[in-house]
Amino acid sequence: MRRILLTLADSIIPESPRTPDTLEEVTRHALVSLRYMPRSSARMFLWGMRLLNWAPLWRLRGLRPLTALPAAVARRHLVALTQSRWLPIRLLMYGPVGLFMSSYFDQDFAHREIKYAPVPFVADRIELRRRWIEGHEPGSDDEVHHPAALAP
């Protein structure tokens, strides 16, 4: 099962940037998340992943599972599934896409890539609230402003 999850993660998340641990990390997160689900749901999820692994076969596009295909080919299969006209097939993709994408885009290197830096912003806001509690109400300098945002 671990191999299937690694293959699915490899096909779903961006090829770069990655660290040497990225695939392990997002797969570990998926396995941790499963522990928080009811056993029946976790079991169904894992069966769904096995079914996905054999997508080339049931799509009549090949005889080998995704784990035996190059990542680019496996990705093409998965992209086709996310765009399937059949709802149950798209539904199969909800779980892995949600788990792997949310895990990938939660990493610091991915944050840097998309220029998202919540930690310093939150620290700044905690300090602002602390000053407010001490009696210094925020002024116009403390407002969140990015003038270009309302340019049009």
Partner: protein, 501 residues
Amino acid sequence: MTILAHRDYRQVETHEAEVAVIGTGAGGAVVGTELAEAGRDVLFVEEGGYHPTSSFNPYLTESLPRLFRDAGGTIIMGRPPIPYAEGRCVGGGTVVNGGMTWRPPEQVLMQWARLTGQPDLGPKAMEPVFDRVEQRIHAKPQHPSSIGEDSRLLERGARRLGWRYEPNRRAQDRCVGSNQCLTGCPTGAKQSTLVSYLPRALSRGARCLTEVRANRLWIENGRCVGVLGSGINPRTREEDVEVRVRAKAVVVACGAIQTPFLLLRHRLGRPSRQLGKNFLCHPNTKVLAIYPHDIYAWQGVSQGGQIREFRDEGILMAENAVPPGTAAAQIPFLGDEALELMKRYNAMAMTGVLVEDSHAGSVSRCLGAPLAKYSITPYDHERFLRGVRYLATLHFEMGAEKVILPFSNFHVANDVDDLAEIERTQRSRSTIELFTVHMMGTCRMGSDPRDSVVNMSGELWDLPGCYVADASLFPTAVGVNPQVTIMAMATLVAQRLRLPN
């Protein structure tokens, strides 16, 4: 202050209290606090862990498993299937919600009064109850310093189109707009029950057993006399401790899915067969706009206001900036294509359309887990399409480059003319992608055992001593964010709860 966790339990743990309250969210915390303040000995039973404000951080991989049920991976089956999220931690959903405090529209309360034959659910009679709740959670508009550019953009767009925009009143005390409502407010400003109600209860002697799953009600001679549960080892997730709580009354406040799930185990709700029925979920869908300039939607409060122009049609629209992990899980691309779009994360305005339920689903038990079923009607579908078109039009009016639409077969509109394609491509309800966090209505309150699950005190018609105090009580949909309505109903239940001698 007594908060116990798995490490504190013996192999068989037994407690006694006057009132056991299962759940510490908007319903459980309120009913328990009101009772504790009235001098009752209250014991909370909470499945999740206790995570104080200082532990909250913006990382989803940490927050999802510890704050959300099933690590956020839950789904309502139907056409279309609807993923949903609910809290599982001390404070429940109030820790991970947006903290909106909209009262239900007057006509909803009038309808409740009419349906139940009880004028005390009407708008006039409920006013002091709402006042009390709102005072306790500091419901008020946001300070200007907390408003972000995405909220301003939506407001300006609405005004340009002549639509009514109303700033949100939120449960907050000096909110500075850190925009981390979803992963637990790291400043302590959001007045979740974790920081508002529960400290009051604990200071009055209430106790809280955390990491305990309530598996069964303890029933003797036809009366509910406690809760039987198990302690969950947070490391292994195994249920390895037996926990028993004996009480004169039990209040079930686990939310509109878990409450009927627990009660159905005992085949309750017989008189009306309504237990688990009347499931409402106020679904929503997303509309992501990419602007040519950065907006930094993740700075400033999530949901500064709502577009309420179409409220009478049951349509609400709002911005709702979510972390990149959540946004990436919702976009219709994989791999590098997804990254290309996510590189525009700072230029994204994340908005959504909420549609009031016109039809109910159900909750039942299946293979040891709750099975929620709900399908939108063609009428709901038509309103969703209209809402998506309205929002996309607003974004193009405000200069958006493109809009990512919530349809599996029509992802991107590049200009306003593309929106005409919505009519042509969206014939099936299966192609729209929905989400929800507002589950309600599976143990409806009423004055007739033939058409309701609980009486006007919240007590089950067929199980004395067992009360319900959460969104399950709602007789009909409220059509707005339900937090204060849940809190008001829980306050009523606390006022009406009677203990046996």
